[in-house]
Amino acid sequence: MASGKKAAARERASGADGRAGRWKTRPGCRSLYRAFMIALVAWPSIAAPEMPERPWHVLILEAYDPWLPATIQLDQAMRRALHDDTSRLTDVYTEALDTGRFRGRDLEDAFLGLLRKKYGADTPDVILAGAPFALDFAVRHRTELWPEARIVFYGVPSGAAPLTLPPDVTGQYIQYDAAGTVALALRLSPAVRRILVIGGVTESDQGRVRSAIDAAARLSPGIDIVRLDKLPYSEILRVLEKQPIDSFAIFAGFYRDVRGDTFLPADVVEKLSSASTVPIYSVFGSMLGHGIVGGALTDFERVGRQAGELAAGVLSGRISPSAAPRPASAASCVVDARQMARWSLPEARLPPGCSVAFRVPGMWETYRWQVAGGIGLILLQALLIGGLLFQRRQRRRATLEVHQIRAALTHASRLATVGELTAAISHEINQPLGAVQSNADAVEMLLDAHPPRLDRVRDVLADIRAANLRASEVVRRLRALLQKHELAMQSMDLNDAVNAVLRLVATEARRREVTLDAALVARPLRVRGDSVQLQQVVLNLLMNAMEAMTDTPASRRRIRIRTSITGREAFVHVDDGGRGIDRDQLPHLFESFYTTKANGLGLGLSIARSIVRAHGGRIQSENNAGGGATFVVAIPAERGDSDRSQRKADLAGIQATASSASRPTPP
């Protein structure tokens, strides 16, 4: 027991290498692990025995000013191509001879010294020589400097290269398409009578001047060709300033003028272009944007890339260092849209495939998505607005329809209510008609008498007329109430409406043995309303009250109609002696089609309420303490008028008291 405890403690003490303990117990496994580790360490030396690798060394030997636009384009393109095309790291250096402006053998020696001192034993793998002078320099000095370096040239016109090249020299010839440029210029300005050729006096300038003149003579035989190459810069400027417009100029390059002053061609072309009265074309892609219209332009970016690719091919062994030189890519037609516009040259005359640079992009090209989005948004908005307008029209139509239906219903209900009064109304009309009949009989009898009693005829005829008037009055009142009419709000006296209805229902009330008790306030109840519709309200209330008293003993069948006015509202109270309104009926009283009558439509009170509401008023009902119900209609009083008439009435009252006080009362 005790020894077992000790063993456990030991094991715990050695804890960390518990696994190692297990390896110890298995020697076979351990040797396998060691072999694997050795193999892992040895691996890289087996797989890449030549590491570390020396980066490629490329020296760009530029004949011209390294800051010329063309030179910059070439340099950058070559570096990019080398970087992209080689698997190995590549160190690229640029040295510029700038022979366009600086010349001399002693300068060459000093430059050689500089190169020797600068690069020493670090031999370039490839010398990229730009322009004939640089190629010449490299070929001449390679043996003494870096005999193992291979030469790749670029920017050398095919005519300017030596006929035989030493070994390990390859490259590409640059092409300047003077003919293409002249052809384009002639195409754009067909009516031209004179071609100016601008150029400097360096070898390369002169070469291009010659090819431009050749092309012009070939493409437009007999045309007046004016050479502006053997002139000082200022003279050329002066000539261009006064050129008749029926000509154009070809810029063939300008590194040095006849006086020996050196120039940067891009600067020259900018100045000439801004002063010139005629368009200027050129062959250099690098001049585009510096004032030339365009031309068959050599794209230095492309030329540089091809040269870089060629150098990379030589470095990697894909291309033989002594391969025969090939021409660089051909020039392509490019024009400057701004210059085209400046000289009013139509783009339509451009040959197919000619690209237009510096075109101010239209709204659509620049902000395509924004514009599309905007237009979409506007369309959407228009659609929405249209939809809303449509909806509004629908709603307006529906509202109109509702109005019409309500008006029709109101009218129909009026007809129905008056229909209930048929017996009373026919009696009212029949009475005067009966009088007319009898009076007519009387007249006949008076005339038949012997002798005719003409004296009395006149009286009877007056009676006939009076009876007739009474009948037509009833008809007129009815017609006013029954006719279909547009709602016409106007200032009116609510008392008049009440009186009209009282006259209408008087007979009916008598028939039903109902006493009508009217107590109308003496002041006018000025409201703004539709007389017919307000009459309908009062009529419905009175009919309702009479209906409510059908089962009431005749002695208690009494309707009291009162009117009153406050500053704000005019009131009509109708209270009956019927059995009142059941508690559960009260909330539904003014609902449509709610009726407690066996043959009622249930529209009377509902229509009364809708009319009152249309007048901005209210209608209420309550049970009376002594039985029966009271309906109250309140219509907004016409403020100004009522106030004014009130004031007038008050004034009249004051005056009346004053006058009666000042004057002795008559006996």
Binding site: H427, G434, S438, M445, V460, D463, A467, R470
Partner: protein, 206 residues
């Protein structure tokens, strides 16, 4: 004797017009604006005449008035006038004994012929009423014994039976019988029986 037409209508215009026609036709016309006014008229209407009554009037209607009048003796015949005669009120009026039922407006031919008929009815009624009055007077003139004998005779009893019943001599019955016949103005037993029936009818009417 000129007949008097009593015109009850609440509508003054119509009332005046009708009054004109009736007066021109040669009648005396009394007008009343309501049934109540007619009932309270002093002296009460009497003599030859008729009543023209509007059915639609405030207060007690023409029909109510007519029903009240019909319970009186010597009632005047009634012509109803209405703007619109509904079936129930027409039936009620005719049952209550209306002579005619005219609708407004009414032409004079219809009106006057109705009035003429009504007056003829009135004449008949008046004659009948006078006759009944005379009969009652004669009956009242009978002594108690004569009246008792009269009852027995019209009941169809023989003299012998009556004598036994009243405990008098058969000859005495004969004497009373002759007196009754003479006082009542009847020439035969059959005539006497008819008079008795008339009397009974008038009594029951009362």
């Amino acid at each position: 004797m000129r007949a008097t037409i009593h015109l009850v209508d609440d509508d003054e215009m119509f009332r005046n017009a009708l009054q004109g026609v009736l007066e021109l036709a040669g009648y005396d016309v009394q007008t009343y604006a309501s049934a109540g006014e007619f009932l309270l008229a002093e002296p009460p209407p009497h003599g030859a005449g008729c009543i023209i009554l509007d059915l639609q009037m405030p207060g007690p209607s023409g029909l109510d008035l007519h029903e009240a009048l019909a319970r009186r003796t010597g009632a005047l015949p009634v012509i109803f006038l209405t703007g619109f005669g509904d079936v129930s009120s027409t039936v009620r009026a005719m049952k209550a004994g209306a002579v005619d039922f005219l609708t407004k407006p009414v032409d004079r031919v219809t009106l006057l012929s109705a009035v003429h008929t009504a007056l003829a009815h009135g004449e008949e009624w008046r004659a009948a009423a006078e006759r009944r009055l005379d009969l009652e007077k004669r009956f009242n003139a009978l002594t108690r014994r004569e009246a008792a004998i009269f009852e027995h005779i019209v009941a169809g009893r023989l003299n012998k039976q009556i004598a036994g019943e009243l405990d008098i001599a058969e000859r005495t019955v004969k004497t009373y019988r002759a007196q009754v016949m003479e006082k009542m103005g009847a020439r035969s037993i059959a005539e006497l029986a008819a008079l008795a029936a008339e009397l009974r009818a008038s009594n029951s009417h009362r």
